[in-house]
Subunit: 240 residues, 2 copies
């Protein structure tokens, strides 16, 4: 099954033009013909059934004949805040956690971050999120938030019912023990390769975050991000 991302789809049924890359994909890669039925999402929660009326290389005219709410979205809002990582590691994380079901990705910088994040990386992450949404047949496109410092990250805490932080020096509790499964929204924070400083961990704890460990083995940041996202969604009942 193929899913197309058409942000200009809205409540109105009827004729819609699909342009750009998705049009090329429909016309050239998948070689669809007029009369074919296709599925799409606007990335804002809705799923659409469309029939192709006319195909040009960069422009596909469709008739939208059915709209419904997406059936595969989690019941909870999970925002993943990963530290900025080197190279394409953040892309691997964004793709995997988008498939798993996060609502938002909020990259941040902290003392031990060695990666960089400019406009190009932000654009690339957005493209990766679109690809992850389509391949997972999701109807919500996770937003890639602008990168912030740790103070900016802490300011977001009040937007969530619970904030949990993977902290490798925290020797006491597992995610299962600390996650409140009755909440509606969770901010999950994963630090950089070198972890958080004691000071940073202290600031987050003072601001209301709960720290947890992902077991006794040392995990790379990208493994920790994907594993913790899967555990969170499972504990919240969103991987059933």
């Amino acid at each position: 099954m193929e899913y197309f991302y058409v942000p200009n789809l809205n409540a109105k049924k009827g004729e819609v033009v699909i342009a750009g890359q998705e049009a090329r994909h429909i016309a050239k890669v998948l070689r669809h013909k007029p009369g074919d039925e296709i599925l799409g999402t606007n990335g804002r929660g809705d799923e659409f059934k469309m029939v192709i009326k006319n195909i040009q290389p960069e422009r596909v005219l469709v008739n939208v004949f059915e709209k419904r709410e997406g059936q595969r979205e989690p019941q909870h809002k999970l925002t993943l805040a990963p530290a900025v990582l080197k190279g394409n590691k953040l892309s691997l994380v964004v793709e995997a956690v988008t498939e798993l079901g996060v609502s938002e990705i909020a990259p941040f910088l902290s003392a031990r971050v060695v990666g960089k994040m400019g406009a190009v990386k932000g654009q690339r992450l957005r493209a990766v999120a679109i690809s992850g949404m389509k391949s997972a047949l999701r109807t919500i496109l996770p937003e890639i938030k602008p990168v912030v410092g740790i103070e900016g990250l802490i300011k977001k805490f009040s937007d969530f019912d619970q904030v949990v932080v993977a902290y490798e020096e925290e020797r006491s509790k597992s995610l299962e023990q600390v996650l409140d499964t009755k909440v509606k929204s969770v901010l999950l924070i994963i630090g950089p390769e070198g972890g958080f400083t004691k000071e940073e961990a202290g600031w987050m704890r003072e601001a209301g975050a709960v720290l947890f460990i992902l077991g006794p083995r040392r995990l790379r940041a990208e493994t920790a991000a994907v594993a913790a996202t899967a555990l969170c969604l499972s504990l919240l009942g969103d991987l059933k």
Copy 2:
């Protein structure tokens, strides 16, 4: 903290020669000096403390003065059986699940597998497992088993207390609902991109496997492998 893989370390304390790549890493990359204390594992469960006595570019002489059992290994034996995947996708899986704590990786071929697996890929996966073991500070090197067909995979079922298979058409149970957390050993099977055929799923079920779903979203095989491994280890109590 750095961890070295020295397969020739055994029960005997005293002088040991570290050769090859690990020696180069100690001498040239980390620029250790005689008198430095280093940590190592033989990949068979033991951790060693050593002091460097003499350094040559390809040969480091150490004196082993302490041996103890590794403290970071899971209590359960989890074998991941991933379908062979295209390109370097299996490497990404092997690295992540080694860090998380699997005991063994048993790649297999089934009807919808499109990737290939030759001797070179097997060697590369072994190198990735070594790297994952070291970075996670583990003391057991997960074995990369020779690739088998689905019949060969089913023959292994009797070696495990429970066999669980991620199957995307299985609309009923989650891993949490089907995993028996009282078992000692689990075989976790993740199919190829296109999933298993109905016939293959039937064969595995008949041979005693339990099928489960990883939620309503469609996951790439590598995301499913890492997520399901994390969930299994967490449910077994091995991510505390």
